[in-house]
């Protein structure tokens, strides 16, 4: 019988030294959304990029990944490598009060172009609802 997998959260102050500077949260619908187009290995790769962002003082100016601002939230862009021909975007907001990065959703794009307007509005809405407290919080 295999060893049981334990899931580990990304929390500010935890992780291998110097540790995470940000806690990472995810909107539950975002997880199902990205798993529709990612393999487990590809998800792990993107999870590593997110964890790397959580190690940075300012994740919006990452030295290791491509991060761009969209309205009042951000997108992490990646492609190639283990992602193969997929051009993937991960959207997140920065809750500075809770020192948290909040994953809002993801998209497999057909090309290198900018985020489609429909997705831009959808992620803006999710971020707004998070800030309004409609999704609750990690503390509750």
């Amino acid at each position: 019988m295999g060893k049981k997998q334990i899931k580990i959260g990304v929390r500010q102050g935890h992780g291998t030294p110097p540790g995470y500077k940000w806690t990472v949260a995810i909107i539950d619908v975002a997880f199902g959304e990205v798993m529709k187009f990612l393999t487990d290995g590809q998800y792990e790769h993107l999870a590593m990029q997110v964890k790397e962002l959580a190690r940075e003082d300012d994740p919006t100016h990452s030295r290791t990944a491509s991060v761009a601002q969209i309205e009042n939230y951000y997108e992490l862009r990646d492609k190639g490598g283990i992602l193969g021909k997929k051009n993937v975007r991960v959207y997140f907001g920065m809750d500075k009060l809770k020192q948290s990065l909040v994953i809002l959703g993801g998209l497999k794009k057909e090309n290198d172009g900018q985020t489609p307007d429909g997705t831009r509005i959808l992620m803006r809405r999710r971020w707004r609802k998070y800030l309004n407290g409609d999704y609750g919080s990690l503390d509750t």
Binding site: Q5, I8, V10, R11, R63, T64, D117, G118, Y135
Partner: protein, 160 residues
């Protein structure tokens, strides 16, 4: 003949009634939305009609549906597994490529840090197969070591 015509008319009437009902339900649902969601729907409607690609259309339709559905969602902890996920040999392969590129360019990890702006600790974790590099990271290493992207990226191998 007359019976068939009546049947066709019945079908048209039923379809019209169903459409009228669907529109009434939609209007009622939109009326009950928060103002900000209504504003988003208005913006999305313009995008739906102006969409020039299938991707734009699908993204707008997905957003439209999520707003109309008003399904509850919640924020949860972002979790990863404590033992490495099988990445199909990717980590072993790419860590070897990065180390080989650095050594071919006769650079130390510190010199590669200076040339790329990537922290030395990050480079070390890449070479030890602990972290999977982003495309941005690989582009920086490729530029600093004089290698082409296909050297690091199987998805570019056809460019070799």
């Amino acid at each position: 003949m007359k019976v068939a015509k009546d049947r066709d008319q019945d079908r048209v009437d039923t379809a019209e009634a169903a459409l009228t009902m669907a529109i009434a339900v939609l209007v009622e649902r939109i009326r009950g939305l928060p103002k900000e969601d209504k504003d988003d729907l208005f913006e999305l409607s313009k995008i739906l009609f102006a969409a020039e690609s299938e991707e734009e259309l699908q993204c707008a339709a997905r957003a439209y549906q999520e707003i109309l559905d008003q399904k509850p969602a919640c924020v949860v902890a972002f979790e990863t597994k404590d033992t490495p996920v099988n990445m199909g040999g990717w980590l072993e392969w790419i860590s070897g490529r990065i180390k080989q590129a650095r050594e071919d360019a006769r650079l130390t990890q510190s010199e590669l840090e200076a040339a790329t702006g990537l922290p030395q600790s990050h480079i070390s974790r890449l070479e030890n197969g602990v972290h999977s590099p982003s495309s941005t990271t690989l582009e920086k290493i490729a530029a600093a070591t004089g290698k082409s992207m296909p050297f690091f990226d199987p998805s570019h191998q056809d460019e070799l």
